[in-house]
């Protein structure tokens, strides 16, 4: 990336918009601001940003609608800002095409981490081949091989597919429903217990401390997030 990535910030509260702009510009990003949902689409078409940050609590338009309309024509990563304890609206936003979320109130470091993961994802999707690197394990998704400290680790076909589904969105959250649909099929979209069992198996096989996983993270009430080493 030669030039600084441009980020569209869709936020009605001027105070939050100002602090987001200040913080993001200080990190070296270019920022375009939209004061509401209706403007978001126009601003996105006019500035062709590399990603968008959308507050779910917009007064003029449902945040989920904003995401749907952006997603209808743009593949850019969309990061959602949502209030705590509103799991349902988070999940709706993710199902509508958002890639990740940050819960308000948040520390700025958390927002930067999400923004970096989202922008990296956008580059990687254009790339291809995927190798997931853990602390002392490594998974080659294309060759379907896994090793730990040099020794091969036997993984089942479904374990590979689950890792691939998480790996394609590395650094970002993937909802229970999205994982179940992708790995087990649409008929199993509500079989959350499959995920609980398989995530435990994967952690036991790949995490250094399965009881406190560093890579296969739980997003309470929403889904899972794979955090791989760069």
């Amino acid at each position: 990336m030669g030039t600084a990535p441009t980020i569209l910030v869709v936020e009605d509260e001027p105070e939050i918009r100002r602090f987001l702009r200040t913080a993001l510009v200080a990190e070296g990003y270019r920022v375009v601001e939209s004061p509401g949902g209706r403007r978001a689409d126009i601003d996105a078409r006019a500035h062709a940003p590399d990603m968008a940050i959308v507050d779910l609590g917009l007064p003029d338009m449902d945040g989920v609608e904003v995401i749907r309309s952006l997603r209808s024509w743009s593949g850019m990563p969309i990061l959602v800002l949502s209030a705590r304890s509103h799991e349902r609206s988070k999940i709706e936003a993710l199902d509508a095409g958002a890639d990740d979320y940050v819960t308000k109130p948040f520390a700025i470091g958390e927002l930067f981490a999400r923004v970096r993961a989202a922008l990296r994802h956008a580059v990687k999707t254009a790339g291809g081949g995927l190798v997931l690197r853990f602390e002392d394990a490594q998974v080659d998704l294309e060759r379907r091989t896994a090793t730990r400290a040099g020794e091969p680790v036997p993984l089942t076909p479904l374990e590979f597919r689950l890792l691939a589904a998480l790996g394609r969105h590395a650094g970002m959250v993937v909802t229970h429903r999205a994982l179940l649909t992708e790995v087990w099929g649409p008929g199993h979209a509500d079989d959350t217990h499959y995920l609980r069992i398989y995530m435990k198996q994967l952690r036991d096989k790949l995490e250094r401390d399965p009881a406190r996983p560093a890579h296969l993270r739980t997003e309470i009430g929403v889904g899972y997030r794979l955090v791989a080493a760069d």
Partner: protein, 356 residues
């Protein structure tokens, strides 16, 4: 409600029977007129003590019994005898007037009682408000001091002072966000707005997520996890149970000396799973084991930091899932906070071959 009504009318019938028996006892020496007075007395008592409907019933039964048993020819009902219609009419009026007066008295008594209850809850609310406002005002004072200092004295402050003030803001805001979050969660739980969204969840997984989220707040304690690999899944609202466990861990970190061990244990019983957070702090007196779960109740006032909502939130969440929360002193000193969650038979997951 229905059984109460039935009981009231039984009283009315009982009173009529009692009056009849009393009338039989006094009737040979005394006149039939005096027997009528006995019935009137019965009607007055029922009207005053029980209510209008039963009093009318008692009057009606009384007049019929009086007519049949005491007015010659004994054993026959002579409705054409006009004077007993008058007797009945008088009894009816007495029943209505007395029951109305008694009802008014009862209503006034209830109103007085309601007012007393209201005053008591006002008083409790006042104490809570005082407690909340103290807990929120202190960090707010620190925040506004640090922020206004940065805003107004920027040039006069050295680099190091600015950094220190900014760090204070960062830390105090995080604490404040925690307090406000707890007050909001308690409010949601109490108002019944927190409807659990149940799905299969894993206690070890939730515990790991709690530890990850609380991070620095647990860093000064040594955490030991004892969660068996074969612990069954539970069907719960994952976010709420996360909050329940988080509150127990925060509580342990807040009330025990740094460097001590905090144990998280999980155990499956026949029909429930039991989660324990055990600490090695001072513990509380036996008499306070139940009190610690009350809202705004803090083990020790000087320990500061907490609002005394954590354990109350934990208990409310567990109760919402049909579980139980309690505290025990542990022999080694310190406390064990335990809660249970009901177990349901988990659906099977099809086995799958490993492609080695």
């Amino acid at each position: 409600m229905e059984t109460r009504k039935a009981r009231d009318y039984a009283w009315a019938v009982g009173a009529a029977v009692a009056c009849t028996l009393a009338g039989r006892a006094i009737s040979p020496p005394l006149d039939a007129v005096n027997v009528a007075m006995v019935y009137l007395l019965g009607v007055v008592v029922i009207a005053q003590r029980v209510g209008r409907g039963p009093a009318i019933t008692c009057a009606l039964l009384g007049v019929i019994a009086f007519d049949v048993l005491f007015v010659p020819p004994v054993g026959a009902l002579r409705v054409e005898d006009a004077q007993y219609v008058v007797t009945f009419a008088i009894m009816l009026v007495v029943a209505l007037v007395i029951s109305e007066l008694a009802e008014r008295g009862r209503r006034e008594g209830e109103a007085r009682e309601r007012l007393a209850v209201q005053a008591e809850s006002e008083r409790i609310r006042g104490t809570l408000l005082a407690s909340i406002s103290h807990d929120l005002r202190t960090p707010l004072a620190v925040l506004s001091g640090a922020a206004s200092s940065l805003a107004q004295q920027w040039e006069r402050l050295g680099e190091a002072e600015r950094r220190a003030l900014a760090a204070t803001l960062d830390r105090e805001v995080a604490a404040m966000a925690g307090h406000v979050g707890k007050v909001l969660q308690m409010t949601r739980l109490e108002s019944g707005a927190a409807i659990p969204v149940r799905d299969w969840a894993s206690i070890p997984e939730i515990t790991a997520a709690v530890i990850e989220r609380l991070g620095p707040r647990l860093a000064r304690h040594r955490l030991v996890l004892d969660l068996p690999a074969d612990l069954p899944l539970v069907r719960v609202d994952e976010s709420l149970v996360e909050a329940a466990i988080a509150n127990l861990l925060e509580n342990a970190a807040l009330h025990t000396p740094p460097g001590t061990v905090v144990h998280v244990r999980g155990r499956a019983g026949a029909d429930s799973i039991e989660v324990t957070v055990e600490d090695f702090g001072g513990g509380v007196a036996d008499g306070d084991l139940e009190r610690v779960f009350a809202k705004f109740e803090r083990g020790d006032m000087e320990a500061g930091g907490g609002m005394g909502l954590g354990l109350a939130i934990c208990r409310a969440i567990v109760a919402l899932h049909g579980g139980r929360t309690w505290a025990e002193r542990v022999p080694a000193g310190g406390m064990a906070f335990r809660f249970t969650l009901p177990l349901e038979a988990a659906p099977r997951v099809p086995a799958e071959p490993v492609n080695a």
